[in-house]
Symmetry: C2
Subunit: 189 residues, 2 copies
DNA sequence: GTCTATAGTGAGATAGAC
DNA sequence: GTCTATCTCACTATAGAC
């Protein structure tokens, strides 16, 4: 397939970008069309309504999430390292779709909320399988949520700490929770 | 004071409630006026514009935050216990104002974002002072953020775990990070 | 101090030309 | 497939009655 849906994808990108940068309120059909370089009529040819546009974005997120799930299970450093590090990795297509959909989830978009919850549940299940103790898995997953919350909602990971070694330091702290995996006081600065 | 600003407060309550229940998009002047039991004109007498309404809510949040700060510092079980437990305590006036303002922060309301970041920073500072190790304080604060993210954005603490003892269990796991504070396997289960 | 009425703007959506 | 033109409706805000 050389380029089956270039306009469709451009429109979804524009919608996503506006949601991330300015929130649901600013992501109007006019603004999306302008950002995608098409007219409003052109946009509505590809997505018959705003709801259809939202559905398109959610479907795209689900496709990214399925791919991420496979990558997570194959991650060489383990699922904890993978999930924690990718909690803050801004810029991947998956990450951007995730943030855009969380903007929608704050409104009353039920489907956006359930999709996000499903992605999160998959992560926590994988961590629990890796770590053993469900209570520890929950704490680790909450740290991931916290990182995500900071980078997404508060605008920057660096609300608290954006040093280069901050992520290694955090993982070293979390390693203390899983004595089976990391026996010694390894990388703690 | 018998009731100095009852209409003003009712309007802020209505605005806040709509933001929490349905997001920024739905919190229009019409809807706020209807929910507060006044007309649109009446609303605009108290708050000259929508921006003024937003400012009013943020100011109210700051007042609650100052009161919370004093309560945190006086908390008998320590700041970690206090911050973690109140991360998910839905229903207090402070909590509701916080959630409402985070809805606004997702848009482009810069002041809402900085206010939230300031509240968060105060918590983390207090935890760091209590716990000693800044890296541990950061991990604990991220767990608090994660709890908040779950109860706020995903709609329920119970995405993962809403059992009665879940909070005690979580605190027991976190206690392993602060060997200086909690020597034994205290509140586990 | 609170209301009704309404102006002005921008939203989502449709119809039909190209 | 993409455009322009247009419709309707909801939103913010103003003016002035009560």
């Amino acid at each position: 397939m050389p380029r089956p849906d270039s306009a469709r994808d451009r429109i979804l990108d524009a919608f996503q970008g506006l949601l991330i940068a300015s929130g649901e309120r600013a992501a109007t059909l006019d603004a999306v069309a302008a950002a995608a370089g098409v007219s409003k009529g052109g946009l509505l040819y590809h997505f018959a309504s705003k709801d259809a546009l939202v559905d398109g974005l959610i479907e795209r997120l689900e496709a990214f999430a399925a791919a991420d799930d496979e990558r997570m299970r194959a991650a060489p450093e383990g699922t904890v390292d993978y999930v924690i590090r990718t909690s803050v990795e801004e810029g991947t297509p998956f990450d951007e779709a995730l943030i855009a959909v969380s903007r929608l989830a704050q409104g009353s978009h039920e489907k956006a909320r359930t999709t996000l919850a499903a992605v999160r549940a998959r992560w926590e299940t994988a961590i629990a399988a890796d770590v053993g103790d469900p209570a520890v898995a929950r704490a680790i997953m909450l740290v991931s949520d916290g990182l995500y919350y900071n980078s997404t909602l508060l605008g920057a990971f660096g609300t608290t700490d954006s040093r280069d070694g901050a992520m290694d330091e955090l993982l070293a702290v979390l390693a203390r929770l899983t004595p089976t995996a990391s026996p010694g006081p390894a990388a703690a600065s």
